[in-house]
Symmetry: C2
Subunit: 283 residues, 2 copies
């Protein structure tokens, strides 16, 4: 680890307050720690000297802003390679990143939870998102038969006023209609062009007993109910590529937060469908 070495009584004092990593009579301060302390004149080094050395290291700017912000919120922080382990009344790993970096689903599905990402924007402000692994389950296992379907555009029609597809599609009287995902689920043999990655998530959610409807109004793929569409939908589910623009994730979180729903990001990771719950927090 790179950093700034401090020895003697100053080292003891700082170490007792949670700064640095001890090596004999000295401690090694990470650049985030050293800058934080230099800014507050808690070490005998000019801020500018520490800054010039630190600024050459990778991701320095976001690491410094997040470290500083978490310290100001009362956390004691152990500096790790790619993240901060922060303790207050509880402890959690915080992953600093830039708003211009992509959100790496596979990486975050594998990290130890509880974990949060700390995103530094162009103004230097930090926004925090809590991550947890999700395993959504519903109570509606149904798969009514569908026949005589006529595809037109991005949906399928059934010209039979007696059909009852339960929580699938909509019966409008003289006709009923299903989305392409619903049609494919109810008639797996049907020749419909659907996005396979998105369909796989639809199928999995339905297989879990959940009721799955369009999430378009919320700008996501699906809105999901646990028991009945008479209740409010609990989840918004969005299918993401491995590396999704963090800005788009932020937008989806903001929508979900505004309507008090839980946002689940969904993606295949090594052949297994994974759900990550992500929400806005003020740590």
């Amino acid at each position: 680890m790179q950093g700034i070495r401090v020895c003697g009584r100053q080292a003891d004092r700082l170490n007792s307050r949670g700064f640095g990593r001890r090596t004999g009579k000295c401690i090694l301060l990470s650049y985030e720690e050293a800058l934080y302390l230099a800014e507050r004149e808690m070490i005998d080094m000019p801020f500018e000297d520490v800054f010039r050395e630190a600024s050459r290291t990778r991701d320095f700017d976001v690491r410094f802003f997040v470290y500083r912000d978490l310290r100001s919120r009362g956390y004691v922080i152990s500096v790790k390679d790619g993240h901060f382990h922060a303790r207050k009344s509880y402890s959690m790993d915080f992953y600093p990143m830039s708003d211009l970096s992509p959100f790496d689903f596979d990486f975050f599905s594998a990290v130890e939870k509880p974990a949060a990402i700390a995103v530094v924007d162009g103004d230097g402000d930090v926004t925090y998102y809590m991550l947890s692994d999700a395993d959504p389950r519903g109570e509606r296992f149904e798969r009514p038969a569908a026949n005589n379907m006529i595809q037109a555009g991005n949906r399928v029609f059934i010209l039979d006023d007696s059909v009852d597809f339960g929580t699938f599609g909509k019966n409008e009287g003289k006709f009923a209609h299903l989305s392409v995902y619903e049609a494919r689920y109810l008639a797996p043999g049907i020749d419909i062009d659907v996005d396979e990655e998105i369909y796989e998530v639809y199928r999995d959610l339905r297989d879990r007993g959940l009721i799955v409807k369009s999430g378009f109004k919320y700008g996501t793929h699906f809105r999901v109910y646990e028991r009945s569409i008479e209740e409010h939908s609990r989840y918004l589910v969005h299918v993401v590529p491995r590396r999704e623009e963090m800005q788009r994730v932020s937008r989806a979180v903001r929508v979900a937060h505004g309507v008090r729903k839980e946002l689940l990001l969904a993606k295949q990771v090594r052949g297994e469908l994974r759900y990550l719950s992500i929400s806005w927090i003020r740590p």
Copy 2:
């Protein structure tokens, strides 16, 4: 135009209620009109016959759903090639589209306003977005000089506690920092890697006297103030490619609606930067 021909007294009656296009003693009903009328048994043709013929035409499903929805809201509709001209107490052009189709900025920046897009989602529900051309103007024309900048990550630092950049960046005491867009604007010669399309929008907004800050918390590129950052920001500005996923536009509109800001989509159209204001409406 394709459609269903109806003649005689039935034609007169329907035409007086705003249906069909007259050709001598007959009228030609568009498929949307014919289906709407057949569904309500207002013409002597079985719904299924009209449906089978209509369903072979392009974009039939979204055109039918939007036509039907607007009629149910009391509009009288003239069916045009790519859109509906709808009249109630006012008149407006409605462009039907599927939630899976992209939003074509260049096309919509050129259409006559007032115009709205009518998006049909997988559930068959229609969501309406009003479009207007925007020409945002602010009152803060400033361009303070910036020197001795140190780039680190996605921002620029200035180690001088006396600098005052006005509405640009942030002075944190021992240092100040600017976003890459701000740095490029204040020191055009600086060698900073920025997304040129996004920077051009930043530059234009600043040249219009607007104060431009990060829109990351809202999942857009910029939040924009007219006079002072002490007030609430008026706009969210998002830079889009020519064909943006409609779902992403929907998500941005939803966020802006929730925080009562005006969403502006921005893009170069034939060398000129254009802004389209887009908002959620219930027509």
